[in-house]
């Protein structure tokens, strides 16, 4: 679309007014300028993020050789993978339970299951710190068992989101389909596997993406449940930012941003933009 409209603007085409375009442009600049500067400086031949001193990829090489960074990245991805799988199972079961059955105290159960979404991260983090140290959760286990506490904490705050997404999808399910399957001789499990699961598949995909991102992104809860040797990528970046910045972080962040872009593109291909927006509101 040209910047200056050739055809006359219809009354509702607000997006074609100049001030609206300026506004959206300014917001996009605000959102993206810092990220672009960060990515640009990852190629800067200087230790500080201030003056441009020439192009280099040496910080990528340094980041590549940085064992601490690799360890944190592997921890983050391992935690996210486990948290996603378990959240998907527990969240879908919770959604099916609330959708299918009538049982005593249903309102209370419904509210409690979605409570981890509302409770502030800091309170949840503190609760896990208190919980794991009071019950004497073993620390210093071998990898990956030392990540157990963090994985448990992540499942707790991820699965309600999966349940929410899956439940929204279940609301559009025609129960007669399931009955038809049963009339035709399918058992409970078979009807569940062959009729219900295919129907909620899109919700499972967006729920999994949501859980994975939430887990990968989390700082506060991980910060409170981490023990030496279980640093995740956000926790490592935090401690480096606190101590003063090293440029390897720019390089690693750039890679992670590009990874996010790629993942989002895949998600968009799978789901369509509207469905993705729906999962966040």
């Amino acid at each position: 679309m040209p910047l200056f409209a050739r055809t006359a603007r219809a009354p509702l085409e607000y997006t074609r007014t100049l001030w609206m375009r300026g506004w959206v442009g300014a917001v996009m600049l605000f959102l993206y300028l810092p990220l672009i500067v960060l990515m640009a400086f990852s190629f800067n031949d200087s230790k500080r993020n201030v003056v441009w001193r020439g192009f280099t990829t040496k910080y990528y090489a340094k980041a590549w050789e940085n064992d601490q960074l690799w360890g944190a990245m592997v921890n983050s991805l391992t935690i996210a993978a486990f948290a996603t799988i378990f959240s998907l199972i527990i969240g879908s079961l919770a959604a099916v339970m609330l959708w299918r059955f009538r049982f005593p105290l249903k309102g209370a159960v419904d509210g409690t299951i979605s409570l981890p979404i509302i409770v502030p991260e800091i309170c949840l983090g503190v609760a896990f710190l208190v919980f794991f140290s009071t019950i004497g959760w073993p620390t210093g286990l071998v990898w990956p068992f030392n990540l157990g506490a963090i994985i448990i904490a992540h499942i707790t705050f991820c699965f309600p989101f999966v349940a929410m997404v899956v439940r929204a999808r279940l609301a559009t399910f025609n129960r007669e389909q399931e009955e038809a399957a049963k009339d035709l001789g399918a058992g409970e499990w078979q009807a569940f596997r062959d009729v219900l699961i295919p129907h909620i598949k899109p919700a499972l995909v967006s729920g999994a993406l949501l859980a994975f991102t939430l887990s990968l992104d989390d700082f506060v809860i991980t910060f409170f449940t981490s023990t030496p040797g279980t640093d995740t990528f956000p926790v490592l970046v935090y401690s480096l930012v606190k101590r003063g910045v090293t440029p390897d972080i720019n390089a690693a962040s750039t890679i992670l941003i590009l990874l996010t872009v790629a993942l989002t593109a895949v998600a968009l291909k799978l789901q369509g933009a509207k469905a993705l927006a729906g999962t966040h509101s």
Binding site: P11, L12, E13, Y14, T15, W23, V24, V27, L31, L33, P34, L35, V37, L38, N49, I89, I90, L93, W99, R100, F101, R102, F103, T112, P116, I118, V119, P120, E121, I122, C123, L124, A127, L129, V130, I155, T156, F159, E176, E179, E188, L216, F219, F224, F233, P234, V237, Y238, V241, K242, I249, I257, T260, V261, L263, L268, A273, A277, H280, S281
Partner: protein, 302 residues
């Protein structure tokens, strides 16, 4: 077929409900209960805590020092939400009325930061805002230009440019929180505006109302549920924000989450931290209760 009674399918119910119920109990309710009990406890020695049923921790939380931090957190979160609403509403409008070719790209533009790691985004903003960051450099160039223009017309040049302290103060905290939470606000606003019947807007315009009047009288009331959802989705995390005030704030810009963190780490006063943390949760509940009350009233009026 309506919902099935659990007694009619006990084995299926058990298969479906065991995992979520046990998980919620063991890894959510029990940890929260620990904190709740500790909030009535007292420190005995370095690591031991006696749960004596005292209310001293709550009493201490109402001291002015802590009360003022609580109120300040509320004020900061409210301000952040208001700024996000003002910045975000036109963006949501632009998304709603964009052509089909542009909408997916705009939506992607809003959503990408949402999926980008929070720490990376905060760190990126810190680079730009630093003493020698790009914002300060840009302002410095403008300042130099203005000074040059003044000498050109025969006035005294401006004094030399002093970099603005854009980081480690309250301004940085508000800006950082707006930066992080803006997409949270835009997406629910957009999904509410998108559902809106556009012929109502056209009717209002046809009947002689201006664009601004149509916005205030038609669009905003109809999009109210989305606006409230956006406000809650921004306000709640902003109130409990830990990372942004910790990294971008100065010594005087602590929010309640930072005080809670200190009780559990450096200050090692778990009972008091537990009390503060439950007060924060109660504040959330109050906000949500307020929202559901407001949601009921316009529903009946319609």
């Amino acid at each position: 077929m309506a919902e099935q009674d659990w007694k009619a399918g006990k084995s299926t119910f058990a298969a479906v409900s065991t995992a979520p119920l046990v998980w919620t109990l063991a890894f959510f309710l029990v940890p929260m209960a620990f904190v709740w009990f500790y909030s009535f406890g007292r420190n005995v020695g370095l690591t031991e805590i006696d749960i004596v049923g005292t209310l001293d921790n709550y009493k201490r939380a109402t001291e002015w020092l802590y009360l003022s931090i609580f109120l300040k957190s509320l004020a900061v979160a409210g301000l952040v939400t208001l700024i996000c609403l003002i910045i975000g509403f036109p963006v949501a409008m632009a998304l709603t009325f964009a052509s089909d070719k542009w909408r997916p790209w705009l939506l992607l533009g809003i959503m990408l930061p949402f999926w980008t790691n929070l720490l990376i985004r905060t760190y990126a903003l810190m680079i730009v805002l630093g003493q020698q960051g790009y914002v300060n450099q840009g302002l410095g160039v403008l300042w130099g230009g203005a000074s040059w223009v003044k000498t050109l017309v025969g006035l005294e040049p401006l004094p030399t440019w002093e970099p603005l302290p854009l980081l480690y103060n309250n301004f940085a905290v508000v800006l950082g929180l707006v930066y992080v939470h803006l997409p949270f606000m835009v997406l629910p606003l957009y999904s509410a505006l998108d559902r809106l019947d556009k012929s109502l807007i056209e009717a209002s315009l046809d009947l002689g109302a201006g664009h601004f009047r149509t916005l205030i009288k038609i669009v905003v009331p109809l999009a109210a549920p989305g606006i409230i959802a956006g406000v809650m989705i921004t306000l709640i995390p902003a109130l409990g924000a830990y990372l942004t005030p910790d990294l971008m704030g100065g010594t005087d810009s602590q929010m309640i989450a930072n005080v809670i963190e200190r009780q559990f780490k450096r200050a090692n006063d778990w009972p008091f931290g537990a009390a503060l943390s439950f007060l924060l949760i109660y504040a959330m509940f109050a906000l949500i209760a307020l929202q559901s009350m407001r949601r009921k009233t316009p529903g009946e009026a319609r």
